[in-house]
């Protein structure tokens, strides 16, 4: 029962992100704790790298503020995950999922590097919306249920509001609503 639900979610996430190439695919038997740490570290680093590209290319104030926030927040998460993994004695492992994330990111990065101006801003923000949607779905539907260690599970549950807020923030930039960015 659980396996079926889990695979269905993986397919949904995969389909939902195919347009921008940021795919999150899952093995049928679920990630182990070392693989979960590897997936989270990979996902974090990818968004840090996207943010750095945006900061080097975009002149849009809202896009730059969002990108700066992604770099700062995901760096904090990265530090926290590394600290927790060390404490728990869990060594990050690559998996089909983390490898898939990295290969998808290579495609996105290539495109980000080619685009300029408004085209760049639009692609970057559209991708951030899809990326954070994929991550929140994956954390809720796969990573949290799969985590065996209680502290790791709690850390994932604690990180979920961050991804959701980033998703909301990305959507507000995407829609051009200025109210939340006016300060």
């Amino acid at each position: 029962m659980f396996k079926k639900k889990w695979i269905a979610l993986g397919a949904g996430v995969l389909m939902g992100t195919a347009t921008l190439g940021s795919r999150i695919a899952f093995a049928a038997n679920g990630p182990t704790d070392p693989q979960i740490v590897g997936i989270v570290l990979a996902a974090d680093q990818i968004d840090i790298d996207y943010g750095k590209i945006a900061l080097s290319k975009s002149k849009n104030k809202q896009v730059r503020e969002f990108a700066n926030r992604m770099v700062t927040d995901h760096s904090a998460v990265q530090k926290s995950v590394i600290g927790l993994a060390e404490k728990l004695g869990v060594k990050a492992e690559d998996s089909e999922t983390s490898n898939s994330l990295k290969s998808g990111a290579a495609e996105i990065t290539a495109k980000l590097n080619k685009l300029k101006g408004k085209e760049f801003d639009k692609f970057y923000i559209d991708n951030e919306v899809n990326y954070h949607k994929s991550v929140t779905d994956a954390v809720d539907g796969v990573l949290i249920p799969s985590a065996q260690n209680g502290e790791l599970k709690a850390a994932l549950q604690g990180a979920q509001p961050l991804f959701l807020k980033h998703l909301e923030h990305a959507r507000s930039v995407q829609s051009g609503s200025g109210d939340v960015m006016s300060h």
Partner: protein, 112 residues
């Protein structure tokens, strides 16, 4: 004789202590209060806070990422995990604020 003196002294001490206790609440009622707003799970907790003019409000960041308290009348420094910032609510009114870093995080302070 000595015993009587000790008892009297003890009674005096008890009276002073009791007296002190009865005075203390009155003093506290007149004093300004300090309220704490926790920032955790990307929310201000409580989201809405009602205080009296002169009270102080301390925001404490319990998230692992930086937050900031940004309102029209007040603005904190960037708060890292564990950092606090205290504001004295002097002006009466209804003041909404957010975290400029994460603009969908919103809060409200009502000063009576």
């Amino acid at each position: 004789m000595e015993m009587k003196r000790s008892k009297s002294l003890l009674a005096f001490v008890v009276l002073v202590l009791l007296g002190g206790e009865s005075v203390a609440p009155g003093l506290q009622a007149d004093a300004h209060k300090n309220y704490v707003v926790s920032i955790k799970g990307f929310r201000f907790v409580p989201e809405k806070l009602e205080v009296n003019a002169g009270d102080t409000i301390t925001w404490k960041n319990e998230d692992i990422v930086p937050h900031i308290v940004t309102g029209d009348k007040f603005k904190s420094k960037s708060l890292d995990e564990g950092d606090t910032w205290t504001y004295t609510a002097e002006q009466k009114g209804d003041f909404s604020y957010n975290c400029r870093f994460h603009p969908t995080m919103k809060g409200e302070v009502v000063v009576h």
